[in-house]
Every structure is written in C-alpha cells, then in structure tokens.
C-alpha cells in the first residue's frame, strides 16, 4: 500500500545519512568517551565534532550545548535547574498551550509549593505581551514559552518575549523542539537563556535531545552522577544518538531554505486544496505566524478519530486534536485555550510535513480526504442541521 507520512511534528524519519553516521558507533566504535584508552579517545573526538555541529545550527558556542535524552529532559533540566539556582524565587510563568513536558511539570511544581501563571492565548493562538509583562513579578524565577506550537505550528515572538522577561529580571527558557531545524535560529543574536531541542523531530533518532545554556546562566544539573557534560548531566553519553543529532543538525542547516521554500509551498497547496474541496473547514492558528510545515484544519461536525482511521486505510498518517484519539475525553488543550468551538475542535486534523514529502503525496491526500470527510458527515446527526451549530 502507498504510504504518506504527514505526522512529522510527532516524529520524523531518521535521515539515511544520519543513520549512516550513527551505525559505526553501534559496532566497531563502541568505546566509552570517558575512557582514557584509544577506544574512548576516538569517541570523545567524535562527540566534540557532534557538539560543534549542533552549536553551528543554533549559532551557539559548543560549550553552551548540553546533550540530554529528549526534549522533556531538556525542559525539566532548564526549569528545575533555574528554580534551584534562584531559591528565593518561587514563581513560574508559562502558557496554556505548552507541551505536556512543560505543563505537567508545572502542575507538579505547584504541588511542590511553587506558583505558576499560565498565560492565555487568543483565537489565533497568540500571546498578549502586555499580559506577559504584568505577570512577571520580582519572585518570578523563570518564564517558559515555546518557540512554536506542536499542534498548530503558531510561532511566538520569542525575541520580544526574551526582551520583556529580561527587563523584569527573570530567566527565559524556550522549548524550541518544534522550531529547531524548521526556522533559522541564531543564538548569537538571540536573548534566549535556555533553549530545548529534540533529535527525533529533525530526522535524528529518538532518545536524544539537547539543551542550550547561554554562557553565564546559572545552572544546576538535573541528572546527578558522573562528570559527563562537564558535570552538568551525569550518565554515559548516548554516543550513536549524539553523533546522529550532530549530522541531523548539519543536514537541517543545508535544508533550511527548502523548509521555507518547497515545504511551505507544499503545505500551502495542501491547505488551500482542502479548504476549497471541503466546506465548513477552517485553519486553526495564525495564518502567517506559523511553522512552514504545519497546518491544523478543523472539519466541522465530525470527530477526528474516524478521519484518522479512514485516512490510515488509505495509507495516510496525520494526527488529531480530538479527544478520542488520545484516550482523554476533552479535545486538545491547545485548541480549547484558543477558544476553538467544540463543533470544530473534535474534528481537527494536523498535517505536518518534512523534506521527504512530495507534491504527488499532496495530490494523493487531496484526492482521498474530501470523500472521507463527506462520508463521515453523512453519518453525523449535526451535518444536516449545521445552520443551528455553525461556528461561523
């Protein structure tokens, strides 16, 4: 069966060149980089190189890159580390649309006695910077705001946010898991203090992440143990995955123009095509302030799981903000925070593209999806009564 993978915000295919770079480190180059003998020595040289590659993609200094096991660990390290570095401060500011890696952590921190402000977003998924400014107090240790939203692709004005945060004397952490590799980031020009990224979102493997820690930022380790990562993260390095991440970052830099050119064009074509072919369909999120690879479309009066199951029968992989696909009963917290009406929220589908998608695949989805929507609407008790329920 033909398969079309358009769920790249969930995870990406490991680039074959990344895999090639990783493979020797599973076999002949198996040394522990901490060892003094030549098995270890050649590995630590490879790690230096990988760290440089990651730093290069971000315009950072290699010493500012800390390897972790995933984006979630990077987020936990950044937030918990900052809180421990500023014991006199006990307030955290974040947003309602963060990834669970940050939101659930914040809920846990509330149980531990910290206070948390979750900033709302508007109908297009955007923040109010005045509200952000007002929310930061002298007791705010850290502000954690994502670079780009995983569900809608909405990009926050992180540099302006960094400015506001610094003006008020707090640390700014940015979960950039969805942005790194998709939009150019230059930490030399940026004012972000801490920035999280995840390997498997940019064609490296799962099990690897990184945290950028700006020089001079107070830091306390999250994983305590050996002297690895200059004592900032204990635990033997996941060497093959780190090598893969380095190569993936190098490739991401090479393909950056394509993200904003070809991939954006494919996304726009898919979005336009679906909106033209399907009535009562709406894009969620600001149309311009958005990642080039992501579109989140609500198909009114039907439920997302059915759409995904029927698309899957045609070999098409995407994801949904509907309640039923996750086992929770409420639709996506992001769409609810944006105030997307329930007639729309349950039937939202996210397509997230990568450089491996082709024009032919877009045409395939444009051919297969509209009849699926039509079919499910025929089952829906709301479709023929839509005037009563319409979101518009």
């Amino acid at each position: 069966m033909k398969t079309v993978y358009m769920d790249n915000n969930a995870t990406t295919r490991v680039d074959p060149q990344v895999l090639d770079a990783m493979l020797p480190f599973f076999s002949e180059r198996y040394g522990n980089p901490s060892s003094i003998h030549l098995f270890g020595g050649q590995i630590s040289e490879a790690l230096v190189r990988a760290r440089e590659q990651v730093a290069a993609l971000l315009g950072a200094d290699p010493s500012e890159i800390l390897f972790t096991s995933c984006g979630t660990e990077s987020d936990n390290t950044a937030i918990r580390g900052t809180l421990r570095s500023y014991p006199e401060k006990h307030h955290i500011v974040t947003t309602r649309v963060e990834h669970p890696a940050v939101l659930t952590l914040c809920k846990e921190l509330v149980r531990e006695g910290y206070s948390v402000t979750e900033l709302p977003v508007d109908r297009q998924g955007e923040l109010d910077l005045d509200q952000l400014r007002e929310s930061i107090t002298p007791y705010t240790a850290i502000v954690s705001v994502m670079y780009a939203n995983n569900e809608t692709g909405v990009i926050f004005p992180v540099e302006e946010i960094a400015g506001v945060v610094h003006e008020k004397g707090a640390i700014f952490h940015c979960d950039a898991v969805q942005a790194v590799g998709k939009v150019p980031i230059d930490m030399q020009k940026s004012r972000i203090d801490l920035l999280s990224l995840s390997g498997h979102k940019l064609h490296a493997s799962k099990g690897i992440g990184a945290l950028y820690v700006r020089k001079g930022t107070r830091f306390r380790p999250f994983l305590i143990g050996g002297h690895q990562e200059h004592g900032r993260r204990g635990g033997t390095e996941n060497v093959p995955a780190i090598i893969g991440l380095g190569r993936a970052c190098e490739l991401a830099a090479e393909h950056m123009g394509e993200e904003n050119g070809r991939i954006r064009a494919l996304r726009d074509r898919l979005e336009r095509g679906l909106l033209e072919a399907v009535p009562h369909a709406y894009v969620n999120g600001h149309p311009d302030h958005r990642l080039p690879n992501t579109t989140n479309i609500s198909f009114e009066y039907i439920e997302g799981e059915g759409i995904l199951l029927l698309m899957s029968r045609e070999g098409i992989a995407a994801s949904s903000g509907s309640a039923c696909t996750s086992g929770s009963l409420e639709p996506s917290h992001v769409l609810r925070a944006m105030g997307v009406p329930y007639t729309c929220a349950h039937g939202s589908i996210r397509f997230s593209l990568s450089r491996f998608n082709t024009e032919e695949e877009i045409d395939y989805v444009l051919e297969k999806l509209p009849p699926i929507i039509q079919r499910l609407r025929e089952f829906s008790p709301y479709w023929n009564k839509k005037e009563t329920f319409s979101a518009t």
Partner: protein, 284 residues
C-alpha cells in the same frame, strides 16, 4: 492507536443502518457535540411493538459509530420489551469488546435505545440533569447516572467510572465526589451478602492480628479510592487503638484530606477492626 477488534472495525467501516427513518415511530437523541459524541436513533415499530427498522446518525469516534451500528443490528426484529433488556455490556460484547476508555460509547447506545422506547410509550425521558445532581460539570453527569453505571457494570475504580460515563474526564475536580459515590454503591452491593467482608470480630484481637487487619483494611478499602485520585496512604504506626497514617501524592497537603481521613479511614477501621480505633494524620 486503539486495539479495535475486527468486528468493531467492520462496523465502523461498513456501518449498518445509517440514516434517518422518515416518519419514525420513535426518536431519541443523546449526547451532544460538546461532549464529543452524540447519537440520533430513529425506529419503525409495528402493531405488535416489534422494531421493524432502526437507523442511526452518530457524531463520534470509530467505536461510537460502531456501537451505534451494532445497536441497530441487535434491536431490529426484537419487540420493545425484548430490546429494553439490552445492556451496554451486550453492545460491547457484540463488537467483541471495546477498549476500556471507550465503554462510554456502548453506554450512549443503551441510553439512546431507552430514550427511544420511552418516546414510543409516551414516557418523557427525564433530562439527566433533572434526575439527580450534576457531579461532573464538564460532561454534565449526575450522581444517578454514576450510580447506575457502577451498579450495572460492576465498576471498581474512579477511572472505570470515567471510562463508562465520562464523569471526571475533564477538569477532574469531581473525582473525590465520584469516589464517594462509588464507595457508597460498592458498600450497598456488598453488604447484603457480606461475603467479601469480615466485620468487627468477636473477642479480643492479638496485637499481630489487629495490625494485620488494619493493613488489610487500608489496602482493600481505602487505598484504591485514594490511588484513583492520584493519592496514597501510608501506615506510620499503631499504638494500641491509635493508628497513625500519612497521606501521600495529591492527597498530601490537601485541605479536605484531614476530613477525608477522619471520615473514611476511621469509619473503615472501626467497621473492620475495632470500634475503638482513632485515626491520626501525621504530617511529614
């Protein structure tokens, strides 16, 4: 992805009896768009009260559509009295099972059927929010409905309740209330037979017996409800009839916790161990 049975997938991909009967003899609509699923059922009923045709329209996930399809297949040809006996468990069984999180889809089917039969017989189905009190505000679920799904499906945990009727699946604030309702029904279900329980024994217990009974009672009667709510309880010490416990997880530091403790833990220990037990909370 869900582990849906082949039969369920078949009923989702090729649903039977989709649509709406013109001039139906009975109509029911349950659920709503906010909650994420809704079902409109229309029936044609002959003079002998036999369901000669049934059609549905469903807004919802794969298992909601499949449950609706299954329901129509199950009731066509049955008399209203026969159909009225169909339970949500039978709908789930017809589909070779539903994932636990999706059991509420079968409950929706059963409710639609009941409402349709009531409509045919001219009985006004009381709106759920008028029968009993709303416990779960997110999904508008009443205590009566919770009691009913617990009883009919032999539910044991708050999580089960959420899976079967959605209560507690939103903001989760009502979970302690659900735990209370659940406990009430379970007690009532157990007490007539009394098989599962060993009431306060006659005669004096040795210290070791008492300790064992206290630990057993906490494990059996108290911990599950707390666990369901993200909390836990730890037995710290036993000194004569004074039992010291500490609350853990989300129960720790909860303002309602000492009341919870006094009311439920002490009551249980008095019921199963000794009338003299006094429970104290240790804050650590």
């Amino acid at each position: 992805m869900w582990n849906y049975s082949e039969k369920l997938m078949d009923h989702f991909l090729n649903p039977r009896n989709v649509g709406e009967i013109e001039n139906p003899d009975a109509v029911a609509e349950v659920g709503n768009i906010t909650c994420g699923d809704a079902l409109r059922l229309t029936l044609k009923v002959d003079e002998e009260e036999r369901i000669v045709d049934a059609k549905f329209k469903t807004f919802g996930c794969g298992s909601a559509i499949a449950s609706s399809s299954a329901l129509t297949e199950m009731i066509i040809g049955k008399t209203l009295d026969e159909a009225a006996g169909i339970t949500n468990k039978e709908i789930a069984a017809y589909l070779n099972g539903l994932p636990p999180e999706k059991m509420h889809c079968s409950v929706m089917g059963m409710e639609a059927l009941e409402a349709a039969i009531n409509h045919y017989r001219g009985i006004e189905t009381p709106a759920e929010d008028r029968e009993g009190e709303i416990v779960c505000k997110c999904f508008g679920v009443t205590d009566k409905k919770i009691e009913r799904v617990v009883r009919e499906n032999n539910l044991k945990t708050v999580e089960d309740v959420t899976h079967f009727c959605k209560a507690g699946g939103g903001c989760e604030e009502c979970k302690p209330q659900i735990a209370e309702i659940l406990e009430g029904v379970l007690q009532e279900m157990r007490s007539p037979s009394g098989v599962e329980r060993r009431r306060v024994p006659r005669g004096k217990l040795t210290n070791i017996e008492k300790m064992q009974r206290i630990m057993e009672t906490i494990d059996r009667e108290i911990r599950p409800a707390l666990n369901a709510d993200g909390g836990d309880i730890e037995l710290i010490d036993i000194d004569g009839d004074r039992v010291q416990v500490a609350l853990r997880g989300s129960c720790a530091g909860c303002a309602a916790s000492s009341i919870t403790l006094k009311m439920s833990v002490e009551a249980k220990l008095r019921e199963f161990v000794s009338e003299q037990i006094v429970v104290e909370e240790v804050v650590s």
